[in-house]
């Protein structure tokens, strides 16, 4: 190209200069990327908060966080930061399944603040390790539900079981949910547990130290210890922690009072405010509907 007659030819020096300029330009674009690569941590540990009562509405953002952790390739491990007395049975099962799916793909470690009982304990069963502090409460592996009441006077239902159930049937339903819950505990923790299936079904809550002793939990330690454990399990020497805070919540089926443990079942949004929908709860603490005490759990 040096002796072309159309005037577009460049001298050798000019060609070199152009090549150098282009190389510098390209390097200027690529260098930050390379720097980033070199200085970036090996991976990330996502800390996902499970706080308050677990209900069908509070469980959705947590499931989204878990899904994001699975799909985002920069996240290599998950720590569940748990402080919940449990909640609705169905919602707790949903959360369990999400955590289980996540645990299939990456290390999941749970850390319990003040309580990780009943449905919250259910949800963290798939975690490879459960960290507690001596004052944490875990356990309460059980299900509760209001006994069926009489159907409303003046109401016409299409069938005998439409408006109400029998105590026999309700007992069988609760027993079925209990079997699933206790079965899951035995499946995930059976090798560590010092307790028999029957003792687990007593639905006792255990303080942290006792739980570590009997195998309901694994280690005494803080959330930081749990994060370190998760990072080690994912072979991360150098890692970044990403926190997933739950969004502010509203319109819950279940509300937790500040006293801790008292759960108020709100009026049904469907109507028939006086009617107790047959909600099955996996919750630890006093439970009351707007006008009656369903039951108490003694510590």
């Amino acid at each position: 190209m040096s002796d072309s007659s159309d005037g577009l030819s460049l001298s050798r020096t000019q060609s070199y200069a152009l090549a150098v300029a282009a190389a510098i330009l390209v390097s200027a674009v690529l260098a930050p990327v390379a720097y980033e690569r070199a200085s970036a941590p090996d991976g990330r540990v996502a800390v996902i908060t499970v706080e308050g009562t677990i209900s069908s509405s509070t469980v959705v953002p947590i499931q989204e966080d878990l899904r994001e952790a699975r799909e985002n390739e920069s996240i290599d491990a998950v720590v569940l930061d748990v402080d919940s007395p449990g909640g609705g049975a169905a919602a707790s099962e949903q959360l369990y399944l999400s955590v289980q799916r996540t645990a299939e793909e990456m290390p999941v470690v749970a850390s319990v603040k003040s309580s990780g009982a009943s449905g919250a304990y259910y949800a963290m069963l798939p975690a490879r390790d459960i960290y507690v502090t001596p004052a944490s409460l875990v356990g309460s592996v059980g299900v509760r539900g209001a006994a069926p009441g009489p159907s409303l006077p003046g109401e016409i239902a299409s069938g005998p079981d439409k408006a109400s159930s029998t105590a026999d049937r309700r007992r069988a339903q609760i027993e079925t949910l209990k079997n699933a819950f206790v079965g899951s505990v035995m499946r995930h923790r059976g090798d560590d547990l010092e307790l028999t299936r029957e003792e687990v079904a007593h639905a006792k809550v255990y303080t942290g130290a006792r739980a570590v002793e009997n195998g309901m939990a694994d280690e005494i330690g803080s959330t930081q210890d749990a994060i370190q454990r998760a990072a080690d399990a994912a072979d991360l020497e150098d890692y970044e922690v990403v926190r997933k805070e739950p969004p502010t919540r509203g319109g819950l089926l279940l509300l937790s009072t500040e006293g801790g443990g008292t759960v108020v079942v709100e009026e049904s949004p469907v109507g028939y405010d006086a009617v107790d929908a047959p909600t099955f709860l996996m919750v630890y603490g006093d439970v009351r509907t707007t006008d009656e005490v369903i039951g108490n759990v003694s510590a």
Binding site: R70, E71, E105, T176, S184, A201, E292, V293
Partner: protein, 338 residues
């Protein structure tokens, strides 16, 4: 278009095709399975065959074997008894179907002892008011004379009073006032309830009870279901039914052989009331037990006139009799028309 320009255009097109095509192909080449196929998770512990609870069939009929003739059974509803006539219906209907009379003592017109005088058997279920000493003496004289007494009791139940805000009302424990009634016969109701985590009818409090003595009361009974059983403590009474293996007491968490049905002469005590309700009457062998208890009530041979009439004044804190002071059935109080 000149040749060099067309070559440039060709190069341009080739580069675009390579880059865009490469972008489309690379994900397949690098397929890490990341967010594509969700990991399949097998949860054997959730499968129906693993979790579903067995529901026991409810079948059978309540039948009486006794050939006793039209006996009169007095049912106590005058001591704030925590049971309704509807709940006792299976037992009372059986008695009525077999030609026996059922009367209710409401504590309104006649005294208990007057009512007992014309009765052959006395049924007391979960009284919430104490029996007076006169009444206790009357019941004792009644059983001494061959009258049959059947006492049924529940564990203490918690009742909330005061409505919505518990702070304004209160929670009170109301236990059956069966202590004085049973102690006369060496029978006492223990505290707490019975439960069985291993062998139960779909709930730890729905315990099974099995015969521990070969008596008429347990005839034909393999096992019965009691929904809220309370243990009976006995001095020298016969322990007829005891909780099945693995039955524990709630207050001590101790396993043991807890009696739920015991007999001392003409007196039978049962530590449950729910087994007799229509909903539970056909669970396991409950219907056989109900028939046996009905037989027990009418099989006695009671001397007429016991308990004897007191000398100077009628016993018991009763209102003066208005009309008809016999033990005739008293109609239920009807609300005054508005």
């Amino acid at each position: 278009m000149s040749a060099p320009n067309s070559r440039l255009a060709a190069v341009f097109v080739v580069i675009v095709v390579v880059v865009v095509g490469g972008a489309a192909v690379v994900p397949y080449a690098l397929d890490s399975g990341g967010d594509g196929g969700p990991a399949s998770v097998e949860n054997q512990q959730f499968q129906p065959e693993t979790v579903l609870a067995d529901e026991t069939a409810e079948e059978g009929t309540i039948a009486m074997d006794s050939d006793a003739d039209s006996k009169t059974v007095l049912v106590d509803v005058g001591h704030a008894n925590a049971v309704s006539e509807t709940e006792l219906e299976p037992l009372l209907s059986t008695l009525a179907e077999n030609g026996h009379r059922v009367r209710f003592y409401r504590g309104q017109r006649a005294s208990l002892n007057e009512s007992l005088r014309t009765a052959d058997a006395f049924l007391v279920v979960s009284p919430r008011e104490r029996f007076t000493s006169d009444e206790l003496a009357g019941v004792e004289a009644f059983t001494d004379a061959g009258g049959r007494l059947l006492v049924m009791g529940d564990p203490p139940s918690v009742q909330a009073t005061g409505g919505l805000l518990l702070g304004l009302g209160g929670i009170q424990e109301t236990g059956p006032q069966t202590a004085s009634l049973g102690s006369t016969y060496g029978l006492a109701y223990g505290s707490g309830y019975l439960y069985n985590m291993a062998d139960n009818d779909n709930n730890y409090r729905s315990v099974f009870a099995e015969p521990s003595a070969n008596t008429d009361l347990a005839a034909g009974v393999d096992r019965v279901v009691m929904r809220e059983a309370v243990p009976l403590r006995t001095a020298d009474a016969t322990r007829v039914l005891i909780g099945s293996d693995g039955t524990h007491l709630s207050t001590t968490r101790d396993p043991g052989e807890y009696a739920v049905l015991a007999r001392s002469g003409n007196v039978v005590a049962v530590g449950d009331t729910d087994f007799v309700t229509r909903e539970n009457a056909y669970d396991a062998d409950n219907e056989v037990l109900i028939g046996n208890l009905a037989d027990f009530l009418v099989d006695g041979e009671k001397r007429a006139g016991a308990p004897a009439e007191p000398e100077p004044e009628p016993a018991g804190p009763q209102r003066p009799p208005a009309e008809g002071d016999s033990g005739e059935p008293t109609p239920p109080p009807t609300p005054a028309p508005a």
